[in-house]
């Protein structure tokens, strides 16, 4: 088993902040016409200067505490110097952990459950930095004769979270990212459903070899795919007796492969130095305590509470709290329905499966707690079977119609009326004379008849009652 080491660099937009990190422009850039949320500072106009958003610092400290990091008492901003069209100044104001630099927090950890095993991963550092602008192409990046730039996103506050290379399986990376997102959503500092609000670069090495960096991963699913592909690619090389070289590879989400750059990249040198237009940040113990006291409920605490209040097993607690919207959904359901375990089972099972296939988050889908509770009530009342309910669920998520309406529309209400069942039974017996004959002595044939009845009624016949009706009919026959 090749020793796989994966590390992640996660970039999280602090979407709850109203303005950018270093200027007063609105941070609500999605869907806005290009270059309408810019100012001299975020356009890099000569003479303009940055000014730090104080809420960004508070939020960064809060996230650091949630990730159990040590908050640095003094921290400052550095310039990372490189050229690229998406940069407004051809340097990024960021933080650094060498050459005298100190990031806002270091040495944290997160524990999560992947493949039913608890895993702890250490956070090396977290720091604040600004997002660059966005590039657009005519066609693809390969063929576009020019590049269009929109600086609306330039200057959006980012928190970069860097882990130690302690992941051993791609699936672990995916679960970890879900947990980070859940933490940020529980803290109400970042909305993970917003496109591009969380991005990730990964680095991976096998058997202690050179590290390969993978960039351009845009979704959590892609993280697992990209890492999975890369592990395979490197294993293949090693089997052939070759060594994977240290390089940066890009994830192509359409072809689902990582691609090495065609031209050897000249050695980049970011020439980090202290940002001279900003002054140091000093974070006092009092400030840390205040932020700590005002912190909202975190996923781990919520998990404990759900287990206690609703008698859920740890597994359920973990899955539900891994997505704030899911946990919120669960708690809303329990306010109007008193079988929490049933809710949990449906959420963790069919609901999540349905959402996953349709590639939609619970927050974005059409299903609400009212929908689920009504459906569960219909099951409880025997009006629909479990099997039917699973199909109804798909319709709910796709259309947002209430289950009772769907059931009416499709006429799939469970048949429990005795006279109706009798008529169906008559039909079954008529259409299957041999089985009817055999059923008087053969158990198997009796089941066959039950099956035929279910088919005839498209699964709507109440199974228990069907059994009873068939048995009665057979009894009648025997007496004659």
């Amino acid at each position: 088993m090749s020793e796989v080491k994966i590390g992640l660099e996660v970039h999280c937009q602090l979407t709850s902040l109203k303005t950018k990190l270093f200027c007063h422009c609105s941070s609500d850039y999605r869907g806005k016409p290009p270059n309408t949320l810019t100012c001299p500072t975020c356009l890099g106009i000569p003479g303009a200067m940055p000014a730090v958003n104080r809420r960004a610092v508070d939020v960064a400290v809060m996230v650091a505490l949630a990730l159990k990091c040590e908050v640095s008492p003094t921290t400052w901003f550095f310039r990372k110097n490189y050229f690229y069209p998406d940069l407004d100044k051809n340097f990024q104001i960021s933080q650094y952990d060498r050459a005298g630099g100190v990031p806002i927090a270091v040495n944290g950890q997160i524990t999560f459950t992947a493949n039913k095993a608890r895993k702890k991963v250490h956070i090396g550092r977290i720091h604040l930095e600004e997002d660059p602008g966005k590039l657009f192409y005519q066609g693809t990046i390969d063929t576009s004769p020019y590049t269009l730039i929109d600086y609306n996103r330039a200057g959006i506050p980012l928190l970069e979270i860097v882990t130690e290379p302690e992941f051993q399986k791609p699936a672990e990376a995916r679960v970890f990212l879900q947990k980070i997102r859940s933490i940020l959503e529980h803290l109400r500092v970042s909305d993970g459903t917003l496109e591009g609000s969380m991005r990730c670069d990964a680095n991976i090495s096998l058997q202690g070899g050179d590290r390969v960096e993978i960039k351009n991963i845009s979704s959590f699913k892609d993280v697992e795919r990209a890492l999975g592909f890369e592990v395979m690619r490197q294993r293949d090389l090693l089997k052939k007796g070759m060594k994977p070289i240290m390089e940066t590879r890009h994830w192509d989400e359409i072809k689902r492969v990582t691609l090495g750059l065609r031209v050897k990249e000249k050695e980049q040198d970011y020439r980090y130095f202290l940002e001279p237009d900003l002054v140091p940040l000093s974070i006092s113990k009092e400030q840390i305590e205040k932020i700590s006291r005002q912190m909202p409920e975190l996923p781990d605490s919520r998990r404990e509470r759900l287990m206690k209040e609703y008698g859920l097993p740890e597994y359920d607690g973990e899955v539900l709290t891994n997505d704030r919207a899911l946990a919120d959904f669960f708690e809303e359901c329990t306010k109007i329905y008193n079988r929490p375990k049933a809710v949990s089972n449906w959420l963790m099972g069919d609901v999540l499966q349905c959402l996953y296939s349709l590639e939609v988050d619970i927050a974005e889908s059409k299903i609400t707690p009212q929908h689920l509770v009504e459906m569960l009530t219909l099951i409880d009342n025997g009006e629909i079977s479990m099997k039917i309910a699973k199909k109804v669920l798909w319709d709910i998520v796709k259309t947002g119609k209430m289950p009772s309406a769907i059931v009416e529309e499709k006429g799939i209400r469970r048949i429990t009326d005795d006279s109706m069942l009798n008529r169906f039974a008559e039909q079954v017996f008529k259409e299957n004379p041999k089985a009817a004959e055999d059923a008087m002595t053969d158990e198997k044939a009796a089941h066959y008849l039950v099956g035929k009845m279910m088919a005839l009624t498209q699964g709507r016949a109440d199974p228990e009652k069907t059994n009873v009706v068939i048995k009665r009919k057979l009894e009648e026959r025997r007496r004659h």
Binding site: P46, M49, N81, D277
Partner: protein, 486 residues
């Protein structure tokens, strides 16, 4: 009343009293400009229509009896690295030849609010990198005292405009002596404020941790008046000092009783012109007559300031000038068949002059892996030592005086190819920027008809001491009262 001979203080008072109209002042200034700027070439852009329009509005306000500002009707020249909305701001570079900022620098908003009238943007060394205004992309500026000589730099245009009567006040910027040097070479007064006293928002950056915008004028009182208007906290500049500054015109007095003045021996002797040295000695004699006590002192680390200055300034500049790539503004080559990296490299190659290119490359080198510690970080440590030297000196002295420049104005073209010789001219001015101190240059003598300036340096936020020394000397001598024969 010859407007050319009035100080800013006098003009503002007369315009407020309606003894003079703003229009008269501005028209007289433009007449003077048309007479002499062909020879001096202090200006890159003249804003005659806007200036007259502005003047008319001020006169209208005056007639209505509305309150006028502290600089009412005063014509001011602004160095072309300070952003003026709607008026091109070039930094004397081909790179920004057609750049029109969409915003005003904070200092511009402040002078506008006091009814000061901008008559034009002045020539400078390209991106403020130089000591002679010879690296300007357009043309050099000529010293009004001798048109074959440099006016100093990098705020050469601003200082020359004041000296030749083409403006009553000027704004310059000083990174390593760029206000004080030209002030000294053309015989006017120029002050570099304490780091952080004046907002840098809107100053196109050369070296952020060293530079300040400051006043240039014929008299100390005028410098103090302009400083009153531009100084003070600005929330757009995170490095601007938060406290409200004092009133600088209040600090002008003619007695220097009890003032202890030190003269660092490192700024005299070898490398300093004998006439310059004499001017310093004569100055100290005069200051003693006025009640001060002058004494030689030593600040040994001053000899290392030049190297530290250039390493830091070039490093910061290499990063500050990276933004000039022709995408959002600035010069851009016409070739579209190239990729972005090639277009950047070629546009920057054509847009920047040689001195700018040299400093960008050396600065990049000083910050690069393997050299960062040896060069950039080492320079930052030397700064600590220089500051300690000044701190120690200011325990025994209230102020220090030195020559502003080791030599008087040299001929145009004389030093442009001798880089080291040119850099060495900054030797007396750069330590002040490294330590963030206030310093003023005032006229203190002549060398074969060329002005010589003396520099007074004070502890942080003690502009009042520099103004006091300059004022007392000015009121008791007539070096500052002389004007070039133009």
């Amino acid at each position: 009343m010859e407007i050319k001979k009035l100080t800013a203080t006098e003009i503002a008072e007369k315009v407020r009293n309606q003894e003079l109209t703003a229009q008269e002042c501005i028209e007289a200034t433009f007449q003077r400009i048309s007479q002499v700027d062909e020879k001096v070439r202090a200006y890159i852009t003249l804003t005659k229509n806007q200036a007259l329009e502005h003047a008319r509005k001020i006169d209208q306000k005056a007639r209505k009896g509305e309150k006028l500002g502290r600089l009412a009707g005063v014509p001011i020249a602004v160095k072309d690295n300070i952003c003026t909305r709607g008026t091109r701001t070039t930094c004397a570079s081909k790179m920004l030849e057609n750049f029109t900022p969409p915003y005003d620098a904070t200092v511009i908003r402040r002078i506008n609010a006091e009814d000061c009238v901008i008559v034009g943007k002045t020539n400078m060394d390209e991106f403020a990198m130089g000591t002679s205004t010879e690296t300007s992309h357009f043309n050099p500026t000529h010293n009004p005292w001798d048109l074959n000589r440099v006016p100093g730099g990098s705020s050469g245009g601003s200082a020359a405009a004041v000296s030749s009567g083409e403006a009553t006040l000027a704004l310059g910027s000083d990174t390593g002596g760029s206000i004080r040097c030209p002030a000294s070479f053309v015989g006017v007064t120029g002050l570099k404020p304490t780091y952080g006293l004046v907002s840098r928002y809107g100053l196109i950056a050369y070296a952020n941790s060293l530079e300040q915008i400051g006043p240039i004028a014929k008299t100390t009182q005028d410098c103090a008046l302009l400083l009153n208007v531009i100084a003070g906290p600005d929330e757009s500049d995170s490095t601007s000092l938060p406290q409200q500054p004092p009133n600088y015109t209040d600090s002008l007095a003619t007695s220097l009783q009890g003032l202890r003045i030190g003269i660092p021996k490192e700024t005299l002797g070898e490398g300093t012109d004998s006439n310059v040295e004499n001017a310093v000695h004569n100055c100290s004699t005069k200051l003693e007559e006025l009640g001060a006590k002058c004494q030689e002192t030593t600040l040994p680390t001053l000899n290392y300031a030049l190297a530290a200055y250039y390493l830091i300034a070039m490093s910061e500049a290499s990063s500050n000038l990276a933004r000039f790539d022709g995408m959002r503004y600035g010069y851009r080559i016409d070739d579209d068949d190239l990729d972005w990296s090639a277009v950047y490299s070629k546009s920057r190659r054509e847009g920047f002059g040689p001195e700018v290119k040299r400093r960008i490359i050396l600065g990049t080198y000083a910050l690069s892996a393997g050299y960062y510690d040896r060069l950039f970080m080492k320079a930052l440590k030397v700064v600590t030592l220089i500051r300690r030297d000044f701190d120690r000196a200011f325990k025994s002295f209230d102020a220090l005086i030195t020559p502003t420049m080791p030599i008087p104005a040299f001929k145009i073209g004389e030093k442009i190819d001798d880089l080291i010789s040119l850099y060495m001219c900054d030797i007396d001015t750069v330590p002040v920027n490294l330590a963030g101190l206030p310093a003023i240059s005032f006229p203190a003598g002549f060398s074969n008809g060329l002005p010589i300036g003396v520099q007074a340096i004070a502890p942080p936020l003690r502009e009042d001491l520099t103004l006091k020394v300059a004022y007392a000397f000015e009121q008791n001598t007539d070096f500052g009262k002389k004007s070039p024969n133009l």
